[in-house]
Homo-oligomer: 179 residues x 2
Amino acid sequence: MKSVLDLASQRFSCRSYKPNTVPPEMIEKIVEAARLAPSACNRQPWRFTIVTDPEIRRQLAREGILPGLGMTWLADAPVILVLGLKKSLVTHKVAPLISGVDYSMLDIGIAGEHAVLQATEFGLGSCWIGWINQKTTRQIVNWPPEIIPQAFITIGWPNTLPENRAPRLDIREISQWKR
Amino acid sequence: MKSVLDLASQRFSCRSYKPNTVPPEMIEKIVEAARLAPSACNRQPWRFTIVTDPEIRRQLAREGILPGLGMTWLADAPVILVLGLKKSLVTHKVAPLISGVDYSMLDIGIAGEHAVLQATEFGLGSCWIGWINQKTTRQIVNWPPEIIPQAFITIGWPNTLPENRAPRLDIREISQWKR
């Protein structure tokens, strides 16, 4: 078992996967961790489609993303978790007009990262993908109009080492302490 | 050591804290977990002010939040982590116009939840607060105009049990599996 800080250190954006499948029990625990996430007014605006079907994964890789980034590797991930957002009127449309805070996307980030950290704990690789085509993705996963796709998270057994881990800003560049 | 799923199950929105301080080494690890979070194009748009100074905590409790929710307990939390957003032009302003996805708030959610889960692992209570006054909060924590406050996370030793844990939607209500 690892600490959260260890998991945060080990996680990397994995863009190459072995063909081995991920056991359904692992996938269920990953989505369960996301389900339990906190959210503004407990609205739980997240919706998930778990895609393991190879043809639908290929479709997402081909038509679900926006052009320009060369994401053919996407179809090789044995699991693509599609994250959608279902907005509520008061919490996600009215309240942000007053506060200026977009609670709905904050909540999608929280829930999705629960999934990512649980996957990391299992030794799985994962990658957040936000450069998606919302319209075609919605069609591919058969969501009604009120659910808006926001991101994919690919999940699978890593075929690469995290050799090019993206560097982070120094703690002094991003934080101050008032004590 | 606990699994991510355990931490997700145990976390609750803690709104009552013991007066005991939180050791600085714990606070540092909590913020370090957030620092290592992934973000769109690795832009790391998050900025943190760690507030342990009692007078500034009182100020945040009094003037940093919006009216209506009765958050006097806020000043009793020994740590208030203020999360700010520094937007980059391409990733956070141009790209969302094309994709429709607000990467910046997603990233704030991811980083903040790393902090929350690390705090939970330490046995600390925490609570996301998004009903904030961005303008007064920025003044209180002395951020320049380009850093926009988005949320607080209170942290401290819980004085309550999570007796009224908010219920979650059933997994079948929020997910489908394409296999």
